[in-house]
């Protein structure tokens, strides 16, 4: 994980790609793109433009040491996420990461950028398509936790590891890894648990009080939880969860019909008994 962090930093700094003679010497806005061209494999400019940080100049985060070549910046000199994101939520997230298996067993200085690429990051709350949010979120996990050249290969490998799940591949495709690998009942998706502590009780999600509606889809759940009579309607956009996606009108209708039928049958039976008794007395 340290190695990956170093590679991310190395690529982000782009030191390897600056050819001799093209070094930026000075100036408040280094023309990064003269060297880091759109065809450059380090950063995808199109994805960067769409990301949350797409409107920023490179030097907004890559603050010092980039005015010379080779770049002399160290990670410690760069802006950190917390420098801008000072709100309480991020503090909570930082605490969760500290308590997570990532910080405890992988790297005590586990950083946001280990999972969230600052160049491509789009908050899930800014995505309308839940499937897209899941795809992006799981990409971070697959980077370290699955082997394979393609995403399909990685998903296949991961599905084998999750063989205890019914339709493991479908679960992995339509669910975020962190849904099961964080403590149930808490909103956080950053307190990653060791795999031995992952959620294994199906009813945690397959129930009316599905964890997914309050955790994974928290930003959409409030407005879409009870559309058209469906509980957890938001989940249906992406998947159908037995137990979690019930239609209360259909259910009440079914119960009502069964109740009426039982009452009708009981009344019919009682009537037969009463009439038979009456006939016996008369005869």
């Amino acid at each position: 994980m340290r190695a990956i962090g170093a590679i991310v930093f190395f690529l982000a700094a782009g030191a390897w790609s600056v050819p001799p003679g093209m070094a930026q010497t000075s100036g408040p806005q280094p023309p990064c793109m003269q060297c880091h061209k759109p065809s450059d494999i380090t950063i995808d400019p199109a994805r960067l433009a769409q990301s949350e940080h797409g409107a920023f100049d490179c030097t907004f985060c890559h603050t010092t040491g980039f005015d010379k070549f080779p770049h002399t910046s160290t990670r410690a000199e760069m802006r950190d996420c917390i420098d801008c994101h000072k709100e309480r939520k991020l503090t909570k997230i930082a605490q969760a990461v500290k308590a997570s298996v990532h910080a405890k067993r992988v790297d005590r200085a586990f950083r946001c950028t280990n999972c969230h690429s600052p160049h491509y990051f789009i908050p899930a709350s800014h995505m309308n398509d839940v499937s897209e949010a899941i795809l992006v979120a799981n990409e971070s996990c697959l980077g370290c936790h699955a082997k394979g050249d393609t995403r399909a290969d990685k998903e296949l490998e991961l599905a084998k590891k999750h063989g205890y799940l019914y339709h493991a591949a479908l679960h992995l495709q339509r669910n975020e890894c962190v849904a099961c690998h964080t403590p149930p009942g808490q909103e956080t998706t950053h307190l990653i648990l060791p795999k031995s502590e992952a959620v294994k009780d199906c009813a945690t999600c397959h129930a009316q009080n599905s964890m997914l509606a309050t955790k994974l889809y928290a930003h959409l759940a409030l407005k879409e939880r009870a559309q058209q009579g469906f509980v957890n309607a938001i989940l249906i956009n992406n998947a159908y969860l037995v137990g979690a996606n019930r239609n209360k009108w259909f259910d009440w209708g079914a119960f009502g019909l069964a109740g009426l039928l039982l009452v009708g049958v009981a009344a019919h039976g009682l009537g037969r008994w009463a009439f038979a008794r009456f006939r016996r007395r008369r005869s």
Partner: protein, 217 residues
Amino acid sequence: MRRDFGPYPLWLRCWHWSNLLLFVILLITGFNMHFSNLAPPPVTFRTGVLIHNTAGILLTLLYCFFLYGNLRFGNARYYLITADDITPGLVRQARYYLWGIFLGSPHPYPHNPHSEERKFNPLQKIFYLAVMFLLFPILIVTGWALLFPYLLPNVIFGLPGIASWALVHTYTGYFLFLFMIVHTYLGTTGATPGELFGYVWHGEVGPEPASTLRTPD
């Protein structure tokens, strides 16, 4: 009358009670999955799914056996609807259940176990046809589809794919449950409340046709 022949041969009785057992298991485990937040559940969700899937596969095999038995042993002929069954059959039978049965009127279609033509009254035929040749196939096909959800289209007629199959499966199960209530109740409409159940359990219908003998609807 030999037990292997007549209106309630051994294969049919075996199918009937096995079908009931599997259907009740499917109902309980299906209910367990659908209302999984009810506490305490009869079994865990995971165990419920395993039992439900296994019982569903067995029910399919049993349904195939039912189809085979009907064609092989001639039971299918009892389901054939004639014009007389529609008019005036349905009205006569409905009128009997709604009124005549209270007055002790004779059954409009008395059951004759020796008859080669008729075992079911017109209402029975309609309901049995709908249940066994429409609702059951729907239940089985949607159930098998849900065993392979990754093969289902994401969208069907603008509705989410898996959800549509699951809703049809769930509420078909509900309707069959409602049918089971009525079917069980009408089983008590023999000369004694247990008479008709006895026929379907033992297969014995007696040496002489009883003029008022009826089978459960």
